[in-house]
């Protein structure tokens, strides 16, 4: 990736954004009087703001970069992460679950668990969530610092500390409200910053039909049916081997569409917190519904660029190449030595050795040319390096969105797009820190460490936790940048914990007979199932180890066919399906043989059968959550049919 040269206007836009987010935090500080104001926004925010924040909190920069990457690798099927993988869950949350979250007056998701079950599930959830938020925040910041280092040549430490400082200032001063307001700002930045890139890209390609034609060529070149990149459902329905994702319809619909999707959108406090900050019950219920509208349309903004990129790459008149993986710093010495010692006679072996030294694929013809040119007259170091890098054929998909930004943006729009990217990284940190704050202060500190202090005390603790949270995030960022394998393990464990979670909430909210013991043991059992499933299965092309399947290599066997997964995504979706099912069944079974420790009176407002139904009759028909929900589902179905 070439460093980008920024003009004055680009820096001006960046500065303007930074000044405004700090300004928002600063302005809000005088409105914050209680810990509730600081940590939960005192339930005062209108639905359209919480709705956009709900969506933006989820929209980290890793997603912006990753979705374009997925769009390039998998085509329009990536939209399933937005359509089947989000919309139904968001609607379910709004119509059925918000009444319990908001009505119970719980200040957090773990607090709801405490009310419904007992301290065991609450502790498990709050501790795992607290740790997860700090790590997620760190990952965001590490990715941002590395990006700034790569693109603008900033020192990694400088970039990390400066961006963390900006986030610290506006969250410290303005609390959750500050985070929510800046998330809304970030939402508009992303839409208005990336829309020009998509518009110019579609203009460049020549429209949807030309795009589709070229995607058919891409699909055929990769050995799939022509519609594999431009059709969302047909390649999935045709089975795991017929689509580049390697996923069949059951794991897609049940694993992603139900377990993972509902598990995230309905229980993750990072997003639910935004809905809980709404000014009243009806605003809280409308929050996820309002968020669902941009969510449905976002594939056009984030996935389409990836599809445009792969199509451009095969159109010879466009002179566009997909970005290639950079040769790592540590490999340069070996590669340079290989090239210098090669002659046209030894080109074959030199080529093989180069590929082996770097673990990347190269273009044989280009390497042969380079060897010939270098032997004829020694080339300068820089030219050798550039030509070697140019010969790499492995695609760096995460670089796709930036390569399109630089392809289409003049200085000015460039600053806007980069600021949008920056904004989403920073709000990834802010969102996680504010969620961490609330969980720590209310669910861990107030619940177990210092119970009956004054509200002023908790306000100060909340502010102190902001600082601590940011410092911990910085440590996690350094950890992520130096120990990427350890980081992968950490994220793996979080995946194990999240997979069964929705079963616990589903049974808790809709079956009064669920007991605290049943919930706790069911959750543990589900988490264990995740770990066991992972140990037993392996995606094709992976080696046993952190990717799974290590049980077999430890016991000296090959991975049996039943345990072989077509892809990592399939493995993930199946893992979720099994973990959910085990948690679900275990929770029911154990609940039936243990005593219910809460009375019906205590459970009122927490369980569906024991809560008076909310009457929506006073609201205008079209504003009722159930009606809006149905309209959104129909709209989502139409989108799915359009891109069938």
């Amino acid at each position: 990736m070439q460093p980008i040269h920024l003009a004055w206007v680009d820096y001006a836009i960046l500065l303007a954004y930074t000044a405004f987010v700090i300004g928002i935090g600063w302005t809000l500080r005088r409105f914050l009087k209680t810990s509730a104001d600081y940590l939960t926004s005192g339930r005062s925010i209108p639905a359209w703001v919480t709705g956009l924040a709900f969506m933006a909190a989820n929209l980290g920069a890793l997603e912006l970069v990753g979705m374009a990457a997925n769009g390039a690798q998998y085509g329009i099927a990536t939209a399933h992460f937005y359509w089947v993988g989000a919309i139904p869950a968001m609607i379910f949350l709004a119509v059925f679950m918000m009444p319990f979250y908001y009505g119970s007056k719980a200040r957090s998701v773990p607090e709801y668990l405490n009310m419904r079950f007992d301290y065991r599930t609450r502790c498990l959830n709050s501790i795992t969530f607290a740790v997860m938020t700090v790590f997620s925040s760190g990952i965001s910041m590490d990715a941002l610092a590395r990006l700034l280092n790569l693109l603008l040549g900033w020192d990694y430490n400088f970039a990390l500390l400066v961006t963390s400082a900006v986030v610290l200032v506006y969250v410290l001063k303005g609390g959750l409200t500050s985070a929510i307001y800046t998330e809304v700002l970030q939402f508009f930045m992303i839409v208005l910053g990336f829309a020009p890139v998509v518009w110019l890209g579609m203009k460049d390609i020549g429209g949807w039909h030309v795009l589709k034609e070229n995607l058919q060529t891409v699909a055929s070149n990769n050995g799939y049916a022509p519609d594999a990149w431009s059709s969302a459902w047909k390649p999935i329905l045709a089975g795991a081997s017929s689509n580049p994702m390697g996923v069949g319809v059951f794991p897609m619909v049940f694993g992603l569409g139900f377990v993972l999707s509902f598990g995230y959108w309905c229980t993750n406090f990072l997003v639910v917190q935004r809905a809980m900050a709404a000014k009243d019950m009806s605003a809280a219920r409308r929050t996820p519904l309002i968020a669902a509208v941009p969510k449905m349309l976002f594939p056009a903004l984030v996935i389409l660029p990836g599809m445009i990129a792969v199509a451009l790459a095969i159109m010879p008149t466009k002179s566009y190449r997909l970005p290639s993986v950079s040769i790592p710093d540590s490999a340069w010495a070996a590669v340079m030595a290989d090239i210098q010692s090669a002659t046209p006679a030894t080109a074959e072996t030199a080529f093989a050795k180069i590929q082996q030294d770097v673990h990347l694929h190269f273009d044989k013809a280009k390497i042969a040319d380079l060897i010939r040119a270098n032997t004829a007259s020694p080339l300068p170091q820089d030219t050798l390096k550039a030509r070697l890098q140019d010969a790499v054929t492995d695609t760096y998909y995460n670089g796709v969105i930036l390569s399109l930004v630089t392809r289409y943006c003049p200085s000015g729009l460039l600053g806007l797009a980069l600021t949008a990217l920056l904004a989403s990284f920073m709000s990834g940190m802010a969102g996680n820190v504010t969620a961490f704050n609330t969980i720590w202060t209310y669910d861990l500190y107030q619940a177990y460490i210092a119970k009956d202090k004054s509200d002023r005390h908790y306000f100060i603790v909340g502010q102190a936790t902001t600082v601590v949270g940011i410092i911990l995030s910085i440590f996690c960022a350094y950890f992520a940048s130096h120990y990427s394998n350890a980081m992968n393990i950490v994220q793996l464990v979080f995946g194990f914990v999240n997979a069964p979670l929705f079963a616990t909430f589903l049974l808790g909210m809709f079956w009064a007979r669920t007991t605290a013991t049943g919930a706790f043991l069911g959750l543990l059992g589900g988490t264990l199932t995740s770990a066991v499933f992972h140990a037993l299965t392996l995606a094709s092309g992976d080696l046993p180890g952190i990717k799974g399947g290590y049980w077999w290599s430890l016991t000296g066997h090959a991975v049996p066919p039943l345990c072989q997964m077509p892809s990592e995504m399939a493995q993930n979706f199946w893992l979720a399906s099994f973990a959910f099912t085990v948690c679900f069944l275990l929770t029911i079974g154990i609940s039936l043989v243990t005593r219910q420790t809460k009375t019906n009176e205590e459970l009122k407002g927490l369980v569906y059968s024991l809560t008076p139904k909310i009457k929506d009759h006073e609201q205008h028909f079209l504003l009722r959550p159930a009606v809006l929900g149905v309209i959104l589902l129909i709209a989502c179905a139409i989108l799915n049919i359009l891109f069938w």
Binding site: I4, H5, A7, V9, A12, I13, A16, Y17, F20, G23, I24, T27, L28, R30, F31, K33, D37, S41, G42, R43, S44, I45, P46, A47, W48, V49, T177, Y181, V184, L185, F188, L192, P196, L200, K203, D204, K279, T406, R407, Y408, C409, P410, S411, G412, L413, L414, L416
Partner: protein
């Protein structure tokens, strides 16, 4: 909560829109940083769009602040709607 979010959104996008218009007018915006001809001064066009968006936001905030007198900043905060319904 005390601050109508449309103010900062409106101000920021008006400012950015103005910056893009200036850049478009002075330095042009019809070629990308990698040299691709774009067929139009996109800085100018998008700058105008952002400015319009920003101004609309500001008008919304202005209307809301005239409709309800900004009273009781310290009182009844949890009941007063903020940011415009």
């Amino acid at each position: 909560m005390g601050l109508d979010i449309r103010w900062p959104i409106g101000l920021m996008f008006s400012l950015i829109g103005a910056l893009l218009i200036i850049e478009g007018a002075v330095a042009g915006g019809a070629t990308s940083v990698t040299g691709l001809p774009l067929g139009a001064n996109v800085n100018l066009l998008w700058g105008i769009l952002l400015l319009i968006f920003g101004v609309l936001m500001l008008l919304g905030a202005l209307r809301a602040s005239h409709k309800k007198p900004e009273g009781g900043e310290g009182n009844n905060r949890s009941h007063a709607p903020a940011g415009g319904a």
